[in-house]
């Protein structure tokens, strides 16, 4: 008896009780839907987060000094670092939350003090006006560049160059507005006010440099640049626990591993419903075996061997799980499309996930079909024929 013949028999039997077959498959259907949707959403989120991070420039290095008594580090020291061992640009950073006031409007945001190199290190640009320059830095000019959120909240427009805003009692001339980035990740520069570093030191009464950004020559030399900075900071602080240098690639790796774990976990939870679906299949197959005891007896009396009966029930369980898996994939795909629209993101059903869900439901079909099939094959023809 060929496998095609066995599949035909299974289909005849499945189609003869459609409602029951559908209910049997429901567990597998729900399982496959939840696996595909959950894993796809996690993967989609990972892709968008890593995407926005790599937009920020993969040559970026973040240096922090955490020592209780920060060593003397001046702007000139940082400028001297530029060009050393694959380090391209270096910009200090001092930041604080602040309330900005323009006319009668107030808005709470972050003020960041840095140098003109910061623009190139972060890979951002000014949409309107200009960024501050070395002269502004040297004379501690009270000028500022604002993000689009700040501009819109204070002036209800993005074109606010030439206006003044007030921070901690000082008036700042707005000389530029940053390009809108639209990213909602923490690295967004839409919600901040950037002022010259020297001005910020005065404003925030901060004399030490405890944080600075650097860029590597190219994305290939990030590790070299990182090593240069670590060596420099080690010499400076003489304590390897009191500084840290992060590269964007490291951050990316961390995020990737976190989301991978999350995908695995969610997939695992969803797989449990697949398992429950499998138990449903076993349950119905067992009922089906006792219901069809007479049929098994007739088949055996006209020459069906154990393996014929076995394969008939196994193929039936497998067919149920495959059809259930396919329905689940189709509904999962639809669910992903709906989720993309509702959550305004781009989620894709990945082929490996679809294949894995399919393979898993087939394995479930085999495992949970095996016992009922075995039970059916073992029936004695005489007992089976007598059964009413």
């Amino acid at each position: 008896m060929s496998i095609l013949q066995a599949i035909r028999m299974a289909l005849v039997s499945i189609l003869s009780s459609k409602m029951r077959s559908f209910l049997t498959m429901l567990g597998i259907i729900i399982g496959v839907i939840s696996v595909t949707i959950l894993v796809s959403i996690v993967q989609g989120t990972t892709a968008s987060v890593s995407g926005s991070i790599s937009d920020m420039g993969s040559t970026l290095l973040t240096c922090t000094i955490t020592a209780d008594d920060p060593p003397d580090l001046t702007l000139t020291d940082l400028t001297d670092l530029e060009g050393e061992g694959s380090v391209d640009l270096v910009a200090p950073m001092v930041s604080s939350t602040v309330t900005t006031i323009a006319d009668d409007t107030t808005y709470s945001t972050t003020v960041q003090g840095t140098t003109p190199s910061y623009l190139d290190i972060e890979g951002i640009s000014v949409a309107d006006g200009r960024f501050f320059n070395e002269v502004d830095l040297e004379y501690e000019n009270t000028v500022c560049v604002v993000g689009t959120d700040v501009a819109e909240n204070l002036f209800s427009t993005r074109s606010c160059v030439g206006n003044y805003l007030e921070m901690s009692g000082k008036k700042f001339l707005i000389i530029g507005v940053l390009e809108y980035s639209g990213s909602d990740s923490s690295g967004s520069k839409d919600d901040c006010v950037i002022i010259p570093f020297t001005t910020a030191q005065k404003l925030l009464q901060e004399t030490d440099i405890t944080e600075f950004y650097a860029s590597a020559d190219s994305s290939d030399t990030v590790t070299t640049a990182q090593a240069t900075l670590e060596k420099y900071l080690y010499i400076l602080t003489a304590d390897e626990d009191s500084y840290s240098v992060y590269s964007e690639t490291e951050v990316l790796d961390t995020i990737a591993s976190v989301t991978d774990t999350m995908a695995l976990m969610l997939g695992g939870i969803a797989s449990i419903s697949l398992l429950v679906g499998g138990i449903g299949i076993m349950n119905i197959m067992l009922v089906s075996v006792s219901e069809r005891t007479r049929e098994i007896g007739i088949r055996k009396s006209i020459g069906a061997k154990r393996r014929n009966i076995m394969s008939q029930f196994l193929v039936e369980a497998l067919t149920l799980s495959i059809i259930g898996g396919l329905i689940g994939l189709v509904l999962g795909k639809i669910g992903i499309i709906i989720a993309s629209i509702v959550m305004n993101s781009e989620y894709e059903l990945s082929i490996p996930v679809a294949l894995a869900a399919m393979a898993f439901s087939m394995v479930i079909g085999i495992i949970f079909g095996l016992y009922p099939a075995f039970k059916a094959a073992r029936l004695k023809p005489i007992d089976a024929l007598r059964y009413e």
């Binding site: 005849v12 006209i302 020459g303």
Partner: protein, 227 residues
């Protein structure tokens, strides 16, 4: 053809052993038409199950076409039933989900014959029993007589050495019953070996030889040569 020697079978029902067959000896020659007659509870169904290789005796030898059936495994018995025995049951025992043609073709499918060839032969077999216009019908769309004829077609399709009919007319009206008996006579005339199990003397009288079974003990007909 069939050679049974000292066949015994005991069931344990409710802790009490119940001897259903007691040292039964039976010989059937090729081309015989033998009736086994007995009231219900006489052990005739058990005898028929053992002859049909659906059940195994506890003791004794059973040779079918020189094959020692008592030595066979479960799968070998399936092959024996498939190739050597054609069953005609009182309950017809057709598969309700399959059409007449698929029911008849099933023994061939289990032999590994291609579905196309099996169906071709099934159509021929259904033609022989006069049902060429009912090929696509399911059992519940056929009358009792027609269902039994489908069962006969299924029994004949593998050209078995033995046709085993268990009360074949038991569920039929007398007209259909006569038709089925007529068919058995035709099969006998064509050289088939037939064992007919019945409680009905009148039907048994149509057979060429008769044996009686009562309380598990087989006795031959007065002056007969059934043993």
């Amino acid at each position: 053809m069939i050679s049974m020697h000292n066949i015994s079978k005991t069931y344990v029902i409710g802790g009490e052993p119940l001897t259903v067959l007691q040292s039964v000896c039976l010989t059937v020659e090729r081309g015989d038409f033998l009736a086994v007659i007995g009231p219900s509870g006489s052990g005739k169904s058990t005898l028929m199950n053992i002859i049909g290789c659906l059940d195994m005796p506890d003791e004794g030898d059973y040779r079918l076409d020189d094959l020692d059936v008592t030595d066979c495994t479960d799968n070998e018995l399936s092959v024996v039933r498939n190739k050597k025995i054609g069953f005609i049951f009182q309950q017809f025992n057709l598969l309700g989900k399959l059409s007449a043609i698929d029911n008849v073709a099933l023994p061939l499918i289990y032999q590994g014959i291609s579905p196309r060839e099996a169906r071709k032969r099934a159509v021929a077999a259904l033609e022989k029993v006069g049902l060429s216009d009912r090929v696509r019908h399911r059992p519940n769309e056929l009358s009792g007589g027609q269902q039994q004829r489908v069962a006969i077609a299924r029994a004949l399709i593998t050209n078995p050495s033995l046709i085993l009919a268990d009360e074949p007319t038991g569920n039929l009206d007398s007209k259909s019953g006569r038709e089925i008996m007529g068919m058995l006579h035709e099969l006998h005339a064509a050289g088939n070996t037939i064992v007919l199990i019945t409680h009905d003397e009148r039907i048994a009288m149509e057979a060429q030889k008769r044996v009686y079974i009562s309380d598990g003990i087989l006795t031959q007909e007065r002056g007969g040569d059934g043993i």
